[in-house]
Symmetry: C3
Subunit: 352 residues, 3 copies
């Protein structure tokens, strides 16, 4: 990053939060941002939780963004009420995300009927199909393939090697990481005579504003109608969204989770990694699904409910079952012992 | 789609099934096909199961393809014996799959020794390696990479961004969705001294006719010999097929399932999503493996058998175990109660 | 391969191992290498374990590399102490891995500030960003996208369609299979007001020498600092490595396994397929994690320990629990029987 004085960073924090206390050497020049473990004397780092407080004592960071009252032993420190949140906004200013320059790379193959907004950047070897529209200031990086009749909202970014099939709609400020495939055919086949015949997959995909999709994530088109991902939803790497899923707004889904066909997820739900969700299950608003859980076909997870395990059940039940399970060998021993005591009693009664 | 009168659609149904009853406004113009929920007054939709009957009552669809005797309240309806199957074939006629025009895009890099059949379409920035042959009417979309000595049967389609390594054979009418990787090295290493040395992966991959592979699915080459996927088999997104697997004909495997090295799957088997199969396991013909199941190394799943859970066992046993498991806390309470009663008996005997 | 006499192959084995006994027809011409099942009369194959001995009896292979004292019925055979290891090295000589010729394909887009070492091969439609350095004899195949400020060590190979984001460092002799994505943003969001705000992902990725990554595997960049994969480590297909993971040297991770943020794995650990590892868990050196296991957040797996199941526990405990579990229905019956006997005793005492 551009070198900056520690005192100037404190001033930026004041601009962001209204209140920031600076301690130490104001003239210290900062040239980078790093974790507590990796930071050097010209780096800025931050202290948020208890673990970080321990690491901070050993850190070589030149300047720490820390909670109010924290005794930093770094050459400089800035103290704010919410170090993590302030740090996030500070980094966005100090290391603004760069994007390739506007313009169409001469090797890109953009159909003559495609409509490109102002400030669009199209990278090398990218393709944009017939009648597709790319919103203002979008970035389509090298080797992305946009089909025909696609609509892409303003300020969205596709990292290298993203594929968008025909007729998909993507909102504004969306971020798609490399290897994402949007709009491939859903997995729909009918067994006719002695073979599988494809059920037509003629629907499409609609991805809302501010959605972020991780690397190699796949969102299939609907058989009929629309597979939807609501505004503000974030998917991690290698997530599988089957045809006709309806995902709400501000949902979070961690890596390698898979949704079968027609699954519904309500707003603000949180789904862990490697979860499997059966056909047409419904996960209601603000529900929480633990990593590795398996949700059966047509199952309903109630609003706000935390569920865990396979088949998924309310967290309390799951923990109770796990506890019982771990005591199962002991339970078997106890039953064997009771059996002996019963035998002794039976003998005793026989002998009385 | 090209606008068409409802009565003309009924006529097409008669052509497909021999028998179709038309009710309502024959002049109604249809311009699209959609799900019951999303359809508007110019859309065709269909009613197959009980759930759909309920949705149909609320649907705004202009014309419904429905079972015989179904009381549709749409402006027009067509009644047939098998609405779902008829619908599938109807859609294939009304919305025929389009493919890019034949010809080689000027930006494609096709080796001069490659052989292209009649009517082949090669997209922008695609590559085809030395001595590879591409069958008649194949479609290789933008950014696909076909290695050397590859053989691709007639009428196959590779969506954008598919990679096929050297020496792989793919049959006719195969469909590979974006991001598929066919023929990467199998995961074979020998621990020698204090490091892993690669075991040569010099075999290949053979994919049969009419196979469909979902987005980002990977099929590794054999160490020696051939990794095989039989004709008519369908794999969903992000399926992992390790080296030397032998998959039969008309097998279905749902998303995110992984097969370890040397697994065998018989014809017509059905494997759910997120299943894990250990080295050299054998899943026989027409077996059914439930989603999320884990099949141990060298395990044999018998022909026609449904198995579930981890480690996978026959469905009945699995359900019995699940039922026992959910009653485990109750069983622990019962044992505690029996213990008290035994203690009471022991005291009672002691006092007699 | 180039045809070679069986006796000449025996001579090569002597060069590799110091000792190799040849039996049979030395003039037999060998033209290929294959598995025992697929080999024909001009193929070389090998016999290592008991299963292979059975297959060898039925094999049509012209020449077998076999253990000392093995009674081969093939036209020719070569006998050595370690047939598998010798075979691996033999194959590397008979079928040396070929790489595309050195040079930059005219369609590649290499930034003028990038530095290419001697003998580098850059394929069609590949891109290399500003200030990136590509070590001597590296192979970057068709459609790979290398960002800015990337460093790639000598003799590494990227198969077609690999994406490397900005500022990533990759060592020497690394192999990245198609569809790998290195350095995409970690999955870090803070819930602010009623939506998720991205936590900046400004760290990077460091991949050591001799690392091999399978097809469609993803390694995310650190939020701050570095996501590390140590020298000699091998990852299978579709493995997910989240931000800030620290993976040691000579670690093996099988397909579809996912590590959450900040996971640490020690040298020489072995992790099976479809394993899920929670945030900040630590898997110590030489630990073994069974396929399908689930490791909870912050859990520590001790050095050398084998763990299995979800939640993962020591293998012995896991097997004991599985055994108890499979006898659970039987246990329930036994408890019901004991209850009856207690009732009988209670009646008996009452009647005495």
């Amino acid at each position: 990053m551009t070198p900056i004085r520690a005192s100037a960073v404190a001033e930026m924090c004041r601009g962001l939060t209204g209140d920031a206390e600076f301690r130490g050497h104001g003239d210290l020049m900062l040239t980078g941002i790093n974790s507590l473990e990796e930071a050097g004397p010209a780096d800025l780092s931050f202290v948020a939780n208890r673990k970080a407080r321990e690491l901070a004592a050993l850190s070589k960071a030149g300047c720490l963004l820390a909670p109010q009252g924290f005794e930093a032993n770094s050459p400089a420190s800035i103290h704010v009420a919410d170090p993590r949140g302030t740090f996030a906004r500070l980094v966005a200013q100090l290391l603004p995300v760069t994007r390739p320059p506007a313009g169409v790379h001469p090797s890109a193959a953009v159909d003559e009927t495609a409509i490109l907004g102002e400030g669009v950047s199209i990278g090398a070897h990218a393709t944009v199909g017939a009648r597709s529209s790319v919103g203002a200031d979008c970035t389509i990086e090298a080797g992305c393939h946009i089909g025909a009749d696609v609509s892409l909202g303003a300020n969205s970014r596709l990292f290298p090697g993203v594929t968008v099939y025909d007729r998909v709609r993507i909102g504004a400020r969306a971020v798609l990481h490399s290897g994402c495939v949007i709009g491939a055919d859903g997995f729909g086949f009918a067994f006719v005579d002695d073979r599988y015949e494809k059920f037509p997959q003629v629907g499409t995909v609609d991805i809302g504003d501010d959605v972020e999709l991780g690397a190699n994530t796949c969102v299939d088109r609907a058989a009929l109608g629309v597979t939807r991902i609501g505004a503000g939803t974030k998917l991690d790497n290698m997530v599988h969204i089957a045809h006709n899923c309806q995902i709400g707004r501000h949902v979070v889904i961690a890596a390698q989770t898979g949704l079968s066909g027609g699954v519904t997820i309500g707003d603000y739900a949180v789904v862990g990694g490697q979860v499997g969700v059966g056909d047409k299950a419904r996960i209601e608003s603000k529900a929480v699904v633990g990593s590795g859980a398996g949700i059966l076909t047509s199952k309903v997870v109630r609003a706000g409910q935390p569920v865990w395990g396979t088949p998924a059940r309310p967290l309390k039940e799951h923990l109770l079952q796990l506890a019982s399970l771990s005591k199962l060998p002991e339970l078997r021993e106890r039953v064997a012992e009771l059996k002996k005591r019963i035998e002794a009693l039976e003998k005793g009664i026989g002998s009385t």
